[in-house]
Symmetry: D2
């Protein structure tokens, strides 16, 4: 694994837990952790159970005894690491967003295509697909339970930047993060919307904004590539203000392949919303809706039910009939955020063992990146409708 911040903790936990609850065809070993700062990397390895450490990820890629490289660094380093790993014949799991630019993402998808011919698998880490409720939503939509999809409402609302004094960390700097709410949050909403509807966005009209344009620099500079299990907003700020160079709100309207109309919002300024990735899909025969703050539930509306019994049904998605659940606890026992990562590892290992393409692929990641790029281009041209491809 390359990197060891918040995502590193989530991935490590998932690699350790997956084989306990699922009957995996291959046994993951937490062999090697790469991080730039030796001390912090060794601490992380100890905490999360990695056998060895290196300070240069190139060493990991070069070693013969490494089969898979898991990339949890900030987006600006994804392309270089992933492409090198794929060219070295490693399987790759890369955190989302696939990259900070469409160009990088395309190079990665190309590399993944070449590597696939040699048997190396590449997957991008949109773990919210792998919550039982979102998987179940996709299954319901795919089964025709809501008929023809017509509208999607997707938003990802957080509030950790509401405080104008929250410091300017790497996530607020374009050179490290690529974009703000757009790449960090909208990327999830886009992937989830495309996953659940089974359709790709083709055209967008978007707006980006930075509602708090200047923020204090952190009291102590932080290292972009590692450290901390949090979002990087903790800790006090200095008295020096500097410009925020990414968006804190992204809004766009999108068209999917089959004419479906979607509205999207990503915000880090949505006061009181802690982690509200919300999706609602309206179809000709029903609807589904999901909220990450209540991740064990899916709401389903059946327009074919008796007229006096229609309403949104709040399904607690913890039954053995629901995706991934038979491996876990009895019905009614909640799963948490981290279980999506466990399912990701299971699905990836299954695909590697079976020799099939894991999803979301780098091509899927590129598609998301292209949507993000189109939103940014549209936003730069007074929100004019802009094709994704």
């Amino acid at each position: 694994m390359v990197g060891h911040g918040f995502m590193g903790a989530a991935h490590s936990q998932a690699w350790r837990v997956a084989p306990r609850f699922f009957d995996l065809p291959l046994r993951p070993e937490l062999a090697l952790l790469a991080g730039r700062d030796r001390g912090r990397t060794e601490d992380a390895a100890r905490q999360w159970g990695w056998a060895e450490t290196v300070t240069d990820w190139r060493e990991a890629v070069a070693r013969d005894d490494i089969d898979l490289v898991d990339i949890v660094t900030p987006g600006n380093s994804h392309a270089e690491i992933a492409i090198a790993a794929l060219e070295a014949g490693k399987h790759v799991l890369c955190e989302k967003p696939l990259a900070n630019t469409v160009e990088e993402a395309r190079a990665m998808a190309d590399a993944a295509g070449r590597a696939a011919a040699r048997g190396a698998k590449a997957m991008v880490g949109f773990t919210y697909r792998r919550l039982p409720a979102t998987s179940h939503a996709r299954n319901l939509v795919a089964s025709g339970a809501i008929g023809t999809v017509r509208q999607v409402r997707a938003r990802y609302l957080q509030d950790w930047l509401v405080d104008a004094d929250a410091p300017l960390t790497w996530r607020l700097q374009q050179e490290h993060a690529g974009s703000g709410a757009l790449g960090d949050l909208a990327a999830h909403a886009i992937d989830l919307a495309q996953f659940i509807t089974g359709q790709d966005l083709t055209e967008v009209s978007g707006t980006l904004d930075t509602l708090v344009p200047n923020r204090p620099l952190p009291a102590e500079a932080t290292d972009g590539a590692g450290g901390g299990a949090g979002l990087g907003a903790a800790g006090g700020g200095s008295e020096v203000l500097a410009p925020v160079t990414v968006d804190d709100v992204a809004l766009f309207t999108g068209r999917f392949a089959d004419g479906v109309l979607g509205s999207f919002e990503a915000s880090r300024m949505a006061t009181g919303r802690k982690n509200a990735l919300q999706l609602e899909v309206s179809g000709s025969l029903g609807a589904v809706r999901f909220d990450l703050e209540d991740l064990n539930f899916l709401e389903y509306y059946d327009a074919a039910a008796l007229p006096d019994r229609q309403g949104f049904t709040r399904i607690m998605v913890t039954e053995p009939e629901h995706p991934y659940l038979s491996a876990w606890w009895p019905a009614g026992h909640s799963l948490g955020y981290e279980h999506g990562f466990v399912h990701q590892m299971k699905d990836l290992v299954d695909a590697i063992a079976a020799g099939t393409q894991p999803t979301p692929s780098f091509a899927d990641g590129l598609q998301v990146q292209e949507v993000l790029g189109a939103v940014a281009r549209s936003a730069g041209k007074a929100s004019i409708w802009t094709p994704v491809h």
Copy 2:
């Protein structure tokens, strides 16, 4: 109408509104308002549109041009007025609880039985039966949608006595109110539970408590029979404490005719609960639940649904297919508290015109009163199980 407090306002509004929205076979006229204090009665008549006033209800009962007597006074006066009215050949609508004691209630039910033979109809005012959501619940249960009923959970939670300085009004004095949370709140829960399940309670084990046993007397004594659209808790208290002689919490377990098990709570000390009359009925094939604080909704669980789609469905009970709704606004437009009263007047007028017995009858009111009496008796004997009849 006799009396003109909070309930007088609700009834007056309902008498005026019912013929506008429903096609009634008879046209109600707000002929005469009776109240002990001439000035306040005249004010109320003006406000609510009553043509005349009297200060002695006996005048109303004696008049030939009065067809129906609507009784909205405190419970201790119900029996005398209702029996006199029935004996004078009037139809009677009497607010709940039917009376303050089982003896009075029985005398009233007897009088209603005799009057029925002469064509006079008597009805007790459990209006919560007549909300679309509760009516729909009963219809679902009666249709077999939840299978065999097994358990009932009923509670009516309010919090207007949480403040230990809330003054000691007539509602907290046994001689006026008969009982406290029991007669005021549990009576509703009992009626609703019996109505929705279609079964009567036969046996109870109960507990009554007065968690705040002394309260300040009101700064100014209030008249038990009239005044104010509120619950009588408003206004400051004096510095003189006096004992509260009714319960502020009533808890009981009950058995229904077919072995159904019920748990009941009525509380005026449920901090934060404003008007939470909640009912849940568990059956072998499903369940329904209702909360008066969200009165336009009924939740329905269908245990026969596909296993991966089960959950409580939140039905917005505002469709034309739902009870009473075709007379009102388009689907999705909420009704309020007072609409239950409008439906009560419609149903009563329909029954009078058709010559059928309106429900809930005085016998139904007596049944509730007998349950209340059995709870009080059980509470007086260390909660031992006590038959209702």
Copy 3:
């Protein structure tokens, strides 16, 4: 009153009820009902209690004994009637949207300005402002309880057009309705957002769509100007398909005067959503959110609360401290849809008696119409950002 459909019923009920619950300085009399079809107008007058009828609204405007003209006809007739009434010195209440075009709305606002100089008052009927919860939201925002407003999320979701066989009524024809979800639903969302934030929209980027472009003509042609308490979707369709000439979904992003960013959606295709006018306002110190399907509640987030106690507080807006509530029932007793109309009549009568300008004024209605117009213009130009004025 001119017109007597769904809105006519709501207004009639409100005119009758307002003086019962509120102490009005003037006494409304339901003098005259105007409708094109004599029989149906007479039926409506009987049902809703209007003393007389005419078949030409001009007669009403010409009569000396009429002080106020209440216009509840479809939007294409508003301008002519309202201007004539104002020029005749009548006060005017006009249903929303003020008109079907900006030009008509401007003419109306101009007429209202001229009439104001002569003492005639004009008001447009955005009644959702007058629900206790929305009024309370405005008060909270105005008091600084949520700090500086930064974002607004507003949507009005209904689902009565999800069925592709729902017939093509006047509401789906541009010549009668002007627009579809935009004028009918987005108008409410815009007014409410401007009311609660106290800021006007200045610029928009919008998209309109008609997801079901052809629908069956009604089995029997209906009269655009009257009839039925419903939304006009009831009744079967014929087998002849015709084009829907209005939008069924409207999406736009908007900028308010102070830089606040808003996202708006209006949809008649939001499966399972019955009447979900939802508004969320995010500020630097808190947030409020509202949903018309739960209209007795307002959710409030206080970012200044202790960190371990923050969350959305679900306020049941039925306390005497809340707007309009002291006139109604005790705390905890729900109001419904129609109460907003009662409050509208109260506020209008108060303003007339006091000689002050009632709000929302025709100028406010024009502002909404200009936003609608700008959305339509933007939608016609690939969603490019378009100034409202």
Copy 4:
């Protein structure tokens, strides 16, 4: 660890995860798994990472290299194992309920008392105390945030026995399970109520019922001591009916030490309720409520808030200020059922290292058992009020 069913999986996972997220003073090693069936025990050890296995728990107790015995067998074996382990100087963690009878529980508490003098710690596994939301509730109550506690409403509702054909497993047999909903579910509600209020129940009036008195024997007899991660309800039933010898519903009213009044229900027949451990505590200044089906949330009512802003605040208990949370993910990221077990292990290890008494102690477990016993005694005597001690 002795036993390896559903609870064995939960404990194993917790032992493995706790040291990764928390900085523990001692390092747990999963040394030895004891189970009666060699093959199944070895399978479980492999799956959950235990180093060795034995088929007789006495071997574990006899070994010098074992410091702690974790007991996850059915309740009828707890006493023998726990007492032997304590007498051998081991620390003991014992699943709830502490035992199947008061006598056994008392013997265990006595043994724990004697062992404490020798430095061995004993703890009973009421893990629901250790969810962040329930811990936070206790902290709020202890801090005075809700004033004087007056009422408790506690219920634990499940529905896995609604199907009358669900087979008669060990959990439905008195000789294995002791009691039904009472010991399995009410025990949790009692412990949680006592934990959050800080008060013990002193007196109860209870009712037990078996609404489905006969059920099919399992198609294949199952071993009471092990097997399966589920609740034992899975799998088909044979055609032979046999009596259910435990309750499926338990209802009781209770009195706490300071006069607080509590109502309790435990049901396995609550159709649609999957795992609804619900607790509401009403105090003189506020209230808290919790539902295990939404375990990341606590609702808090502050009666001292401004009158127009009162309501239940839905706190997402995932902030660093909340109990246990600083070890986990950023704010807004949900935890699940199993995290309570992780926190249990952390707290136990901390107490062992510090030489302090972990809670809940065996004495706390005995108190719960005494309440259960008093409920059963009261139920056997027509629900008469019965002292706990």
